[in-house]
């Protein structure tokens, strides 16, 4: 299972299947440069694989102010 925390909406999603970052972005309706995809201290690129147990932070970048 993969846990995804979306900022700044403060929403948590969980996904059963293990996908690539690109598939996650598609699922959330995000383009490559719409959000930072963070795992621990690193940024992921669309081709990176997500693995079981991953905790991913999705930080949307279009600022509100």
């Amino acid at each position: 299972m993969i846990t995804v925390f979306v900022e700044p909406d403060n929403e948590t999603h969980t996904f059963e299947r293990h996908n690539t970052v690109l598939m996650l972005q598609k699922r959330l309706g995000l383009r490559v440069n719409d959000a930072l995809i963070i795992r621990g201290g690193t940024l992921l690129t669309p081709d990176d694989r997500l693995i079981d147990g991953d905790e991913i932070r999705v930080r949307k970048v279009i600022s509100r102010g």
């Binding site: 963070i38 690193t42 509100r64």
Partner: protein, 308 residues
Amino acid sequence: MKCRKCKAPAEIPLPSHNTAFCRDCFAAYFTGQVEKAIRRHGLINPGERVLVALSGGKDSLSLMLELSRLGYDVTGLHVDLGIPASSPAARAKVAGFCELHGLKLRVVELIKEGLPIPDVKRYINRPICSACGKIKRHWFNRVALEDGFQVLATGHNLDDEVARLFANTLRWDAGYLSDQGPCLNAENGFARKIKPLYRLSEFETACYAFLNGIEIHSAPCPYSGKASFTGHKRLWADLEHQSPGSKISFYDGFLKRGRPAFAQVELEAGVTLAPCESCGSPTSTGICGVCRLGIAVRERRAADPERQ
């Protein structure tokens, strides 16, 4: 993905530039874009003192850090808006950041100046964000002049600039189109205003902030509704996706071919500015807009039965 430069695993994909970088090569790229902006538009001359407007957001803090790393003489300026729900957190974040990196900071407190934003909202019948923006700009400019800073830097990025330019173009607002850009030269009692991050996208500044440990969480302003440019930013994200590089070419093209024409028109229309009778800031109306706001807020606060 591999870094285009060194073939290490990439962390930052940049389709607009048809590339991807590892964090080290991204840092070099980011610095290169800031240096290019400074060089191309003569943003900072050797020996000049730079005042950096620090809101506490990722862009302003990233700008401050990068300019200090490039060796410029920078001082941060934070305007404490006096909003209980958000200002203390923003101020603490700015102060903590400056302390961590050994950077100079000045703070203007609007409560002390008699113009806390909640009072402006309560007593002044106009959109709060426009009044708030005006007050902040006033203080940036005033501190720059009073304390002898030649340059005033803000953290506007490419997405901010393109969204603003687009809005100004939709209205054909000749006044704004005559001087929007990364460099507004000093004149009429204003310091030079610069935007060294104008070549970098919101995504790029967010990556820079993350990689440099600049936390972007802070309490949002309770008055921030739907930001005016968010819709335009989405349109531009679509356009950029379909044809990468659109944003920078729209903006650079405007600077080269659009702005000079509008500047000519404005020169012919021309308004003359004189120092504000109360605070000395340049204005065309005798007493400047912010001093007039201050007077109105003071009068209405004094007449407010709940505040006696």
